[in-house]
Symmetry: C2
Amino acid sequence: MKSLVSRCPIEEVMQVLSGRWPTLLIYYLKDGTKRFSDLRRDNPTVSHRILTHELRKLEKAGIVQRTVFDGYPLRVEYDLTAAGTALVPLIDAIAGWWDAHDAARDPAAEPSAAERAAAVP
Amino acid sequence: MKSLVSRCPIEEVMQVLSGRWPTLLIYYLKDGTKRFSDLRRDNPTVSHRILTHELRKLEKAGIVQRTVFDGYPLRVEYDLTAAGTALVPLIDAIAGWWDAHDAARDPAAEPSAAERAAAVP
DNA sequence: GCGTGGTGACAAAAAAGTGCGTAATTTACA
DNA sequence: TGTAAATTACGCACTTTTTTGTCACCACGC
């Protein structure tokens, strides 16, 4: 998703929240301050390159706060901003929606297989 | 985003909602039934191949309902399912959050340029 | 020949992963 | 006491994987 195609805010948010990592990172960060290496440990499948990219994206979007401590083995901390914290319950709501609607879907697997209608308008 | 990396529902939802199109399509569909060509007209930059892909993905996720009418110039209609309709306010909430937090961010552009701390832990 | 709603092959573009290098300092060990 | 190695958070160049776009094609009836 390189550039925007509509002037719609939805597309703008999705540009920053799209993908596997942004929401997952927000989730790990809602428990409090994390360092780069903490986040890598939290999800070992992310490469450091991508992790920096994603964190920078979230920082630019005003969702996370990046704090650099000058020093010896170098240290950077990441936290959610106020806006980021405000976003958490909204993501929660969507996760909840998914669970609810998943539960309704699972039992019979694919009951709507042959749902086609022949109508004469 | 090929496969899942966590067992977390958030990652699952994002797998279907990620990208420019899913949320936009949900938005166009919330106004009511649309046909394939309507959706193409609504967003002319999407290729027909991607549009079918996205619609199928949303269908499999139980968010949209696809109805084929046998007949003459061939006709397919797309609507939101109940679950899809339930999702709309949640996406709205996120769009609203974005607007609010964008408004708070815009005026001064980038005031947090040199926010670094030198602390002794 | 047009419009409808697709499918499939192939190519281009974008995103993601890999490995190496960097800084300054502490610690490990001989 | 000197030297080597590790730590942390990346940046850069390169390759691989994934996504997206393009084009051609299908059937159907008008």
